[in-house]
């Protein structure tokens, strides 16, 4: 039986292109777009995009039971890829919406860019939007075939800080250095959008489908 890759669907976004992008790089894997916690648990790999305001994102996850499904999949040792707000949702806490407890897979914090200062003491321009270089913090199967300092596409106003060094798979500089990619065991999470990052993004997705943590 072929492997099943679940893309978590909140019913809020258009995930058809996600399915298509993954199918393009899949080798015989079945891509399922689903909001059903049981289907997520049954999958061999899970892609976790995350949407919108963190409070709404976490609330939807809790209401649907998808939060527990994601934690179960992680505990079962299956590969999980968090993307953008999906990465943020895996942290301990976000300061968005006056502070929201997240899933706590990582100890990191999610912080607003605009309250941070750049080198010259000015307020950072938010959102951080466009292409930016990612410095790889470690050799990792997810970076296979992707050169260090490759540019990926970002669009976000909040970023992850406070991770342990060994969990920072990639850094990006935008006034400050933040975690562009985080990893712990079978979890890999990226702040950028691989689906909008051209060839490097596709390579990353392909690496995810092959990854055997």
């Amino acid at each position: 039986m072929s492997e099943v890759v679940a893309v978590i669907d909140y019913g809020m976004g258009n995930l058809h292109s996600a399915g298509k992008a993954l199918e393009k790089v899949a080798s015989g894997q079945q891509i399922v777009i689903t909001g059903d916690p049981d289907q997520v648990r049954a999958a061999d790999r899970v892609v976790f995009p995350g949407v919108g305001a963190i409070r709404d994102c976490i609330a939807v996850l809790r209401e649907t039971g998808l939060d527990r499904a994601i934690l179960d999949v992680i505990a079962a040792g299956k590969p999980v890829l968090g993307i953008c707000v999906g990465m943020q949702a895996l942290m301990a806490r976000s300061e968005e919406n006056n502070g929201v407890d997240c899933l706590g897979v990582f100890d990191g914090q999610v912080t607003f860019f605009g309250e941070l200062q750049n080198d010259t003491g000015g307020r950072l321009k938010v959102p951080h939007m466009g292409w930016n270089q990612v410095r790889q913090g470690m050799a990792h199967p997810m970076w296979a075939g992707i050169a260090d300092n490759t540019r990926f596409y970002f669009v976000h106003s909040y970023c992850v800080t406070g991770l342990a060094d060994e969990e920072v798979a990639g850094r990006c500089d935008y006034g400050l250095s933040f975690a562009a990619a985080a990893t712990r065991k079978n979890v890999f999470a990226v702040q950028f959008h691989p689906e909008k990052s051209a060839d490097a993004g596709l390579t990353l997705l392909e690496n995810f489908l092959r990854w055997q943590p």
Binding site: P49, V126, G130, V155, S157, Y158, H193, K196
Partner: protein, 246 residues
Amino acid sequence: MLLIPAIDLKDGKCVRLKQGRMEDDTVFSDDPVAVASHWVERGARRLHLVDLNGAFAGEPVNGDIVKAIAKAHPDLPIQIGGGIRSPEIIQAYLDAGVQWVIIGTKAVNEPQFVKEMCQQFPGHIIVGLDAKDGKVATDGWANVTDVDVIDLAKQFENDGVSAIVYTDISRDGMLQGVNVDATVRLAQSMSIPVIASGGITNLDDVRNLCAVADQGISGAITGRAIYENTLDFGEGQALSDELIGA
């Protein structure tokens, strides 16, 4: 406040999409020039054109029709969105008599493009932003971001855009009423005008928007409602003129 009739062009015809889904369209007319003339006769003082093929294929497929509409109504301000991805396309539309081009997807994918186009074509660039619950939506798959639409709109204001077309994607084409609060919040936080898009259903929506138009809402784009007759365009514009003046 201007009511701005939307004419969505696809394969040379006028269509309406439900929540932006290309496969979910309804053809309204085979003659876009006649449709444009119809709205002008009903009192439209600006037109909103969307090149849906362009928006999906990356270049203008309905360019000739846009030119024909502009030629038929040389004094009518026209704004157009869809596939605005290069200075050549912008120049072609301006040459054809279009007043403003609306940069949508590319504004978020490549913000630098907006800045450059504002410098090259000052006074002719509008940015279209889609949002859900106040957060910017993109065409990617995690398609609602953590970015507050106000933060982004302010960046484009600094770049020199003439207006922001604000579309609440949970409401566009679904006849659910306008997200007035979100539109007003955006308008209040900027000095350039906001054009509301999405959700206008009937005269009540026009009335609700007119009540706050002085906060910086210069227009409201209306599509499905005027084609499905839940809103009479002429009555809507007349009400707006009566409530807040032309």
